[in-house]
């Protein structure tokens, strides 16, 4: 990707017209964080493209002063895949929601991840269908009462992180829409990561699912209910940093450091680059109240990207083949002269 010579600012990515999400929507801080993060990546503005599907989240490209394509429900990923594999020079970002990426676009989600195209996928996970006014989504907690589940949902939700690991994802992070600094940092990391970056954003829907993440992200309780993961650092959390994660048998367990013989030495150190995804998988699956919810970059491993392998194949075949034009193709193989 071409790097920009001039230092861009947030304003370079802001549109002149209005942004049309509901007042108080989690979309606003996400938009601001993206606009602040992009200048830090050094990517040339002309090379940035935002692609989206359908839903509230997917209006995102209209609010970015870059190239943008608002596509079909569920189909942002294949459109982004076609673009990225034919134009590896572009920095391609996808804005999608929990319904767009996990329901109607679920198939594309897993296949895009397994191919490992260098895309940055932001999932605005508000656990509800907002634009169609309040039906349960694939990430809505079991038993939730919504417009289409008046007696409570009877289906277990997906966890985007679980699906990402299951599809051999190379990058997964979770962020909170109320945490601008955390979002910026993760967006920059995602942009730098060569491969499919999946960022689950715990987003609030002020109209149809207000406070859905409050139980874990509320200021007063947050320190005990989330754990901020940092590469190379001990996995500790709590107001006084008094708690930590350890492996107990085959499971992750939250413990108080200093109690029951647990010392700091027992506490896990986060290694986002570990190729084996088992710990990452367990971290991504952690849910409150059993365990704190993991926030930050959970997994970031380098693997060849689809578009690089495709470009390499093209170069190799070009070198080996005698056929350099359609004309030569038409006369290749068996031809017959009739006089």
């Amino acid at each position: 990707m071409t790097q920009s010579n001039i230092k861009l600012t947030r304003a370079d990515f802001q549109i002149d017209g209005p942004v049309k999400w509901c007042a108080g929507c989690g979309g606003y801080p996400i938009l601001a964080a993206v606009q602040k993060a992009l200048p830090e990546t050094g990517i040339t503005k002309d090379n940035v493209v935002f692609i989206s599907g359908i839903g509230c989240s997917s209006r995102f490209p209209y609010y970015m002063k870059t190239y943008g394509f608002h596509t079909l429900h569920g189909r942002a990923l294949p459109i982004a895949s076609g673009l990225k594999s034919s134009r590896p020079d572009l920095s391609v970002w996808v804005a999608t929601g929990d319904g767009d990426s996990m329901a109607i676009g679920g198939n594309h989600f897993i296949h895009t991840i397994r191919r490992n195209l260098d895309l940055n996928i932001m999932i605005f996970n508000n656990q509800i269908y907002g634009l169609t006014k309040g039906q349960y989504s694939p990430t809505t907690p079991l038993g939730s009462i919504t417009k289409s589940s008046p007696y409570g949902t009877i289906e277990k939700p997906f966890q985007p992180g679980e699906l990402t690991m299951g599809a051999q994802g190379t990058f997964f992070a979770r962020v909170i829409d109320k945490e601008p600094k955390g979002m910026e940092r993760v967006f920059i990391n995602a942009a730098k990561h060569k491969g499919t970056s999946v960022i689950e954003i715990l987003q609030n829907c002020v109209i149809f699912n207000n406070d859905t993440h409050e139980m874990i992200v509320r200021k007063e309780v947050r320190d005990d209910r989330i754990i901020l993961l940092e590469h190379g650092k001990k996995m500790i959390f709590g107001k006084e940093k008094e708690k930590g994660l350890i492996i107990d048998g085959q499971e992750i367990k939250a413990v108080k450091i200093g109690e029951n013989g647990v010392t700091m030495d027992n506490v896990l150190v986060h290694d986002e680059t570990c190729k084996n995804p088992n710990i990452h998988y367990m971290l991504a699956r952690m849910t409150y109240p059993e365990l704190p919810v993991a926030i930050g970059v959970i997994r970031s491993v380098e693997q060849p990207t689809y578009e690089t392998l495709m470009a390499e194949q093209i170069e190799q075949v070009k070198k080996l083949s005698d056929i350099k034009s359609v004309k030569e193709l038409l006369y290749s193989g068996k031809t017959f002269e009739i006089k």
């Binding site: 002309d46 692609i51 209209y62 608002h70 572009l90 075949v317 193709l329 038409l330």
Partner: protein, 619 residues
């Protein structure tokens, strides 16, 4: 036994049908025979007839695979109605194909497989060799299996029967080389090439090829040889080509001419998959192929590539086109170039996946939600799939629109002897690119002639803009729900496609340019049969002409004027009358008669001639 003095009959044309189990190599034998005929200079057309099962139980009717070759000294445009020579390797192959041979035809069977066990598998109640059902045919009972095995074992290479049986098709080839008075040496080249890495297979196949040739030369049952002279009306450099390969190559040629890269997003589906196979080979020509997770992702990746400045294309068949329709609508409203190839097969649903039909016409013209016009064109011979794929690319790139190219299973898998075109002389393709930082650029500013918008590509400096599925304002491309604007944009999209009529050739007539009694109208892949039927009737003095349509939507501008010149009109198509319905909607003043067929089979010349005569002789 001495060599016979045999009679040689010169023929204008011959149709040979190869039939056996799916695993018997009938497709290969057929190709080998047609290659040898093309080297000899015959005109030709071929058509495979294979089951949708890969290897149905051996010896059963369900497992019969066939390959028909029509060679000629005279012009050949179809694989032929009925066979002059049938090769049936087992009773099931005979049972399936007996109705497709001419009276008095030569039928060569592998007598080793004609026993009670095989009769039972094939579902024969009576022994067909003794119940008079083959009376009147020139039946050659060749011991193909036993002689192939004996030949292989005489080489003392320790080869088992199973391997030896795989050489049986070469015995058939040898026999045919003799039967058609050909130099058997030409068969050697094919075998040496085919098994280049396995010298032992070259050895045994060559031995069996000669065994077949010598058998035919020696045995008295084969009394005549056929001789088909080289084609009289063809000159130049030719190659055999299937419709699918020609389609793939036409797309590459279109992209090359336009100076853009070709990207194919596709999901495997019979009978279109070969386009994906072929294009995946041509990375040397900068072709990118993306085997998607489903049909929708196939078209969406292509749209993404087009958005990025490539020629996006997707290949499919009827059921896949149905899945792609929503995305086709996105390409219509975002006005991006895209080629959608639909290789039609028998429907609805899974229908007849390996058989041909023309029943997706309405789906192609109308099958989308909203007011969603896009051009529809159709190829009419295996070779001209190249030209129409090229034309689809040209229209898509110059008019900024998705284009549906219709071919069908018959064109896709059939071959013809195709004159290699001069690509330097093919029409230029000029996509409406924009220069970086063009101050006048607006996403929906239109070319006043074509009404197409310009193609600004991500990465270009100073042309940032947003497109998408929501309706956009005229010129500026902002999201707009304005009622009047939607009318304006809908009208533009319709008018833009209509104006393509100014850039396509006029409709041609084969026959009387000034008009006449009967105009036969067809479209797409039925050209060969319709043209031959009309031609033969004209030779018999009938007043009949043909208009075969390649440009379906929009129609050529002269269509109405042309129809006016004829007293009667008949529309022939492999569906229940979709083009007829369409013509009635366009030009209701004419009374269109119809001839329709939905058997998964192409038209036969004979049935067409009968129908046309019936109409011409009506008072």
């Amino acid at each position: 036994m001495g060599k016979n003095q045999k009679k040689v009959i010169e023929l204008e044309e011959v149709v040979v049908k190869f039939a056996g189990d799916s695993g018997d190599g009938m497709q290969l034998t057929g190709s080998q025979f047609s290659d040898a005929s093309a080297s000899f200079g015959n005109d030709l057309s071929t058509f495979p007839d294979y089951p949708s099962e890969i290897r149905a139980p051996q010896g059963t009717v369900a497992g019969v695979s066939g390959f028909q070759v029509h060679i000629g000294h005279k012009e050949v445009q179809t694989p032929g109605d009925l066979a002059d020579v049938l090769i049936a390797l087992n009773p099931a192959a005979l049972k399936t194909n007996m109705k497709w041979v001419k009276p008095g035809a030569t039928i060569i069977i592998d007598i080793d497989n004609f026993d009670n066990k095989h009769y039972k598998k094939a579902g024969f109640v009576e022994d067909p060799l003794h119940d008079n059902s083959l009376k009147g045919f020139n039946l050659i009972k060749a011991p193909i299996t036993s002689l192939s095995r004996a030949t292989v074992s005489s080489l003392e290479l320790g080869i088992d029967h199973k391997t030896a049986d795989k050489t049986r098709n070469q015995f058939v080839m040898g026999l045919l080389f003799w039967l058609f008075n050909r130099d058997v040496k030409r068969g050697e080249e094919f075998i040496s090439k085919k098994f280049v890495e396995k010298p032992i297979l070259v050895k045994i196949n060559l031995a069996v090829l000669y065994a077949g040739y010598n058998y035919a030369e020696t045995v008295e049952a084969i009394a005549t040889q056929f001789h088909v002279n080289p084609a009289k009306n063809k000159k130049g450099t030719f190659r055999q080509i299937t419709g699918n390969i020609a389609t793939a190559w036409g797309l590459i040629a279109g992209a090359e001419k336009a100076g853009v890269k070709l990207f194919l997003g596709s999901y495997p589906i019979t009978p279109a998959t070969e386009i994906l196979h072929e294009l995946s080979h041509h990375k040397n020509l900068d072709v990118r192929t993306f085997q998607a997770e489903d049909e929708i992702a196939g078209i969406c990746t292509a749209i993404g590539a087009s958005y990025g400045g490539s020629l996006g294309a997707t290949s499919t068949s009827g059921p896949g086109l149905a899945l792609k329709t929503e995305a086709a609508g996105l390409a219509v409203i975002t006005e991006l170039p895209l080629v959608i190839v639909n290789v039609q097969r028998g429907g609805p649903s899974t229908g007849l996946p390996t058989k041909t039909e023309q029943s997706d016409l309405m789906q192609a013209i109308h099958g989308r939600h909203g007011e969603c016009p896009l051009p529809v064109i159709a190829a009419s011979s295996p070779g001209n799939c190249f030209n129409f794929a090229y034309e689809a690319a040209k229209i898509a790139l110059e008019h900024m629109t998705p284009v549906i190219l219709l071919t069908d299973g018959y064109l896709a898998n059939g071959t013809e002897l195709w004159k290699i075109p001069d690509v330097d002389k093919m029409a230029e393709i000029h996509p409406p690119f924009v220069k970086d930082n063009d101050p006048d650029y607006q996403p929906y500013r239109r070319n006043p002639e074509t009404l197409s918008r310009s193609w600004a590509i991500p990465g270009q400096e100073g042309l940032q803009h947003r497109i998408g599925g929501l309706e956009k304002s005229d010129i500026y491309g902002d999201v707009s729900h304005d009622p009047y604007n939607h009318q304006v944009m809908t009208n533009y999209r319709a008018e833009k496609i209509k104006r393509i009529e100014n850039y396509i050739p006029e409709q041609k007539i084969h026959g009387d340019q000034e008009g006449g009694d009967l105009l036969v109208m067809g479209w797409g892949g039925t050209y060969g049969a319709l043209n031959m039927a009309v031609k033969e009737l004209r030779e018999d003095g009938y007043n009949i002409s043909l208009a075969q349509f390649n440009y379906i939507f929009p129609l050529p501008k002269n269509t109405e004027a042309l129809l006016c010149k004829f007293k009667k009109h008949i529309i022939c198509e492999l569906n229940l009358g979709q083009f007829a319905e369409y013509m009635r909607s366009q030009f209701p003043q004419f009374k269109y008669e119809q001839y329709n067929k939905v058997q998964g089979l192409p038209f036969f010349i004979k049935e067409l001639k009968n129908k046309f005569k019936e109409i011409l002789e009506e008072k």
